[in-house]
């Protein structure tokens, strides 16, 4: 009985407190210029108010920096936000600086804080900023160390930045529109577990930017006509769902170092890059990329980190499926697969045949994949055509790769691969062996019209064989750099380049049987100017050289082998040095004497002051031949 009485008394007491509290909430009015029972500015009203009060601001133009340190509803009375305008009195201070929880600010136009912020939520929570319009501020809404706030239906334009979060989590940012902001529409740094839903960001440098902000959700938003649409860096386990990122000058959606993120149902069209990943353990489903210069891309060359993503064929590029195979064996993809781009990570015995792949960062990307075959594929308009990283025993045969912004074929740290009978034209470079690629064979490839080089070997790519390739129309036909040694360059035809063969700090290569003609310089053996390594101990023999300038040699190299029986490049019976012709027909080998008729000149040819071809080849004398056949000259 006594207990019951105590309970009733307690309930009555609580009710009384609640009633008294609600009764104490008052409404204060602000009117431009003041008036009876009304405050002339917001700060006066706030100073007079108590927690829980409502401040109704009548339409007008106010010039203030308002400091809010109480839980208040500050509401523009006029439903049209353009009619209640607050301009920062001092542009070095925010229009609203909020240091209290549970503040609602709604219905205003806030501007003129061009050195600071429109609204600054400073270490607070459970505030609601809604239905406001911002312009001409450095940052329109800033949250620092502020959590569980709601920013809804605000219009953010013509400022440096729209919404800016630092060290702020669990906020809901919804239905906001940011346009014509110079830098970021939405910027999050070190801000986790935020939800951005149904926002849009147009015509800024970056629509939505998240740095070190994990576990955020970006939903149903549109970021278009920016330089970058949605850009995540260091933001793990993010969810991007049903967003549209169109017509951005760089990336539609980019994930850098944002592992474990999920992209579902996003559309990225007509950007330069559609969706690009530099992260791992991501899941992609039902994303659409179309009309981008590069629809889909993951990783760059040289990349050696984890690439273990779950990307199924529901993701499309220009209507074709993305194949992202991880640890798959014994699989063939041909034209029936409708593949638009193919990635094979840690795979074995994959065959890619008759595919037409266009407009991606890479047409085919193989990493740590062995015993595979790429045959008769047509790849064009990609950043790079085919990439093989850390692969072995893989064959590239009869593929056409054209119009790549970079290289047609890249073999990085590959062993025992074969590239034969491929065509590469109008790329920046044809075939690039790098990162210590060894023991590969490149043969009978045709590489033409590349802006840089046809074949280049670098970064200690050694013991490779290049034979019977036809290379033309580049700055360099073959370029060796970075201690690429013990390679064999044999029976290649190199024409119409600035340099037929150019080496930079590479030695111990064998260059023989090549026809190098119509180039500005035939063979140029150079120092590596950065580390001082010279191109020494190369052996150059049995080449046909007919160029504006046949040779440059800044090292110590051998330009002939000892006289050996065997047919040489101009039909003579002995191997020895090289044939030195000139476009005018008066090259050394074309005019040298050959008294004993062994088709080796009687005198050596001075390659440089210190390097000689001791056994230069000569033609059978045409004059003598004419006299023999017709008995007269």
């Amino acid at each position: 009985m006594k207990g019951k009485r105590i309970l009733v008394l307690t309930a009555v007491f609580v009710l009384l407190i609640l009633i008294s509290t609600s009764a104490s909430a008052t409404t204060l009015y602000v009117k431009e210029g003041g008036g009876t029972g009304e405050y002339g500015n917001l700060q006066e009203a706030i100073n007079a108010a108590a927690d829980g009060d409502v401040i109704l601001v009548r339409e007008g133009r106010y010039s203030e920096n308002v400091f809010v340190n109480k839980s208040l509803d500050i509401i523009a009375k006029d439903p049209c936000i353009n009619n209640t305008v607050i301009t920062a009195l001092d542009p070095e201070y925010p229009v609203f600086h909020v240091t209290s929880d549970s503040v609602n600010i709604s219905g205003f136009t806030l501007k003129g804080a061009n050195l600071t912020y429109g609204i600054y939520l400073d270490g607070v929570s459970e505030n609601k900023i809604s239905n406001n319009s911002f312009s001409g501020n450095w940052r329109s809404i800033v949250l620092k160390d502020s959590h569980e706030n709601s920013l809804e239906n605000n219009c953010l334009s013509n400022s440096d930045n729209g919404i800016w979060l630092e060290s702020s989590g669990h906020n809901i940012i919804k239905d906001n529109k940011a346009d014509f902001n110079r830098h970021y529409g939405f910027y999050l740094n070190a801000s986790e577990n935020n939800t951005l839903q149904n926002n849009c960001a147009f015509k800024g440098a970056i629509g939505i930017y998240m740095e070190n902000s994990s576990c955020c959700r970006v939903l149903d938003s549109e970021t278009s006509n920016n330089f970058y649409g949605i850009y995540l860096t260091g933001s793990r386990e993010s969810l991007l769902e049903n967003n549209t990122a169109n017509a951005n000058e760089m990336y539609g959606i980019y994930l850098g170092n944002s592992n474990g993120s999920t992209l579902k149902g996003n559309i990225a069209n007509t950007n330069h890059w559609g969706i690009n990943l530099d992260s791992s353990f991501n899941t992609l489903q039902n994303n659409t990329m179309s009309g981008n210069s590069r629809n889909f891309g993951a990783y760059t060359y040289h990349y050696t980190g984890e690439m273990n993503n779950t990307i199924d064929t529901s993701n499309t590029v220009d209507g074709k499926s993305i194949y992202y195979l991880v640890e798959v064996s014994n699989k063939t993809l041909d034209s029936d697969s409708n593949a638009g781009v193919v990635y094979c990570i840690n795979c074995e015995n994959i065959t890619l045949k008759d595919l037409v792949l266009q407009n991606n960062s890479f047409g085919v990307y193989l990493y740590n994949t062995q015993n595979s075959l790429l045959e008769e594929n047509n790849i064009s308009n990609c950043e790079h055509g085919v990439y093989l990283g850390n692969c072995s025993l893989t064959t590239l045969r009869n593929n056409d790769v054209n119009l790549s912004e970079g290289d047609a074929f890249i073999l990085s740290n590959c062993r025992n691969c074969l590239a034969e009978k491929n065509n590469a034209s109008n790329n920046m470079a044809g075939i690039w062996l790098c990162d210590a690629s060894r023991d590969n064979l490149l043969k009978e490839n045709t590489v033409t019209l590349n802006s840089w080089c046809c074949i280049d070997l670098g970064d200690a790519s050694c013991k490779n064989t290049l034979e019977r390739n036809t290379l033309s129309g580049a700055y360099e036909g073959i370029y060796l750099y970075g201690a690429s040694e013990e390679n064999t360059l044999n029976n290649n035809t190199i024409t119409a380049s600035s340099y037929g063969l150019f080496t930079e700090g590479c030695g111990n290569n064998t260059i023989s049987g090549n026809c190098i003609s119509g180039n500005d310089v035939g063979i140029s053996l150079n120092l590596n100017w950065t580390d001082g390594t010279n191109s020494d101990y190369n052996t150059i023999y049995n080449n046909y050289l007919n160029n504006s300038k046949n040779s440059e040699d800044f090292g110590i190299n051998t330009w002939n082998i000892s006289k050996t029986e065997g047919g040489n490049i101009v039909g003579g019976p002995y191997l020895g040095g090289n044939f030195w012709a000139s476009p005018e027909g008066d090259g050394f080998s074309e005019s040298a004497s050959d008294e004993n008729g062994d088709m080796i000149a009687d005198l050596p040819y001075n390659v440089t002051e210190t390097n000689y071809d001791y056994l230069p080849l000569v033609f059978e004398k045409p004059v003598e031949k004419t006299e023999n056949e017709y008995g007269k000259k």
């Binding site: 070095e92 201070y93 925010p94 050195l115 600071t116 912020y117 600054y120 450095w138 440096d160 930045n161 110079r182 830098h183 970021y184 800024g204 440098a205 970056i206 930017y209 330089f227 970058y228 850009y231 860096t233 000058e249 760089m250 990336y251 980019y254 850098g256 890059w273 530099d278």
Partner: protein, 184 residues
């Protein structure tokens, strides 16, 4: 004879006075002007980017043209750009980026300069292989530089525009700390 000498002396003095009017700059002043910097330039490649060729050639050209160049190197954070500009009372901040993933750092440099309260005290320039005038305009950089000669001419004309051609007369970067009250 004495009068003649006196006349010669008077003529000599008059000549010196006339010369002062015709050639008002003294040898000392002239020397001082020659040594005076056209302006202080902070220059570097942005964080995450190690491409230095463009930056290096522009730094050299600016130095040869009489700018004082402080080269911070490569991989420099936006905060370091701003701190160095403030410390050295720089007139220019030139940043270079050659990757699609590093050019965004140039936005952060603009932001950091503003946060340090010196954005209106410096002229910002952006360059790099992917950088365009459109990008410079979009992020609010003052100058887009495409090469060494371009950088020099644009820097000089921007300086003329911003301070009426008087070197070192603009407010120092330290004089204003706009955002100190907000600690931004």
């Amino acid at each position: 004879m004495y009068v003649k000498k006196l006349n010669l002396l008077v003529l000599l003095i008059l000549g010196i006075v006339a010369a002062q009017f015709i050639f008002p700059v003294s040898a000392g002043a002239s020397c001082k002007q020659e040594n005076e910097s056209l302006g202080t330039v902070i220059i570097a490649t942005v964080e995450g980017d190690s491409h230095t060729y463009g930056k290096d050639s522009i730094a050299t050209a600016l130095e040869e043209e009489g700018f004082e160049v402080i080269d911070l190197g490569d991989g420099v954070s936006a905060e370091s750009f701003a701190a160095s500009a403030k410390e050295n009372k720089a007139d220019f901040v030139f940043s270079f980026a050659s990757m699609s993933t590093t050019m965004i750092r140039q936005i952060q440099i603009e932001e950091q300069l503003k946060a340090a309260g010196i954005r209106d005290k410096v002229i910002t320039g952006v360059g790099g292989s992917l950088i365009t005038q459109t990008w410079a305009d979009r992020i609010g950089a003052d100058i887009y530089v495409s090469g060494p000669e371009d950088a020099v001419s644009r820097a000089k004309s921007a300086l003329l525009k911003s301070n009426n051609s008087l070197p070192k007369t603009r407010n120092s970067a330290n004089e204003s700390a706009i955002c100190k009250s907000l600690n931004v």
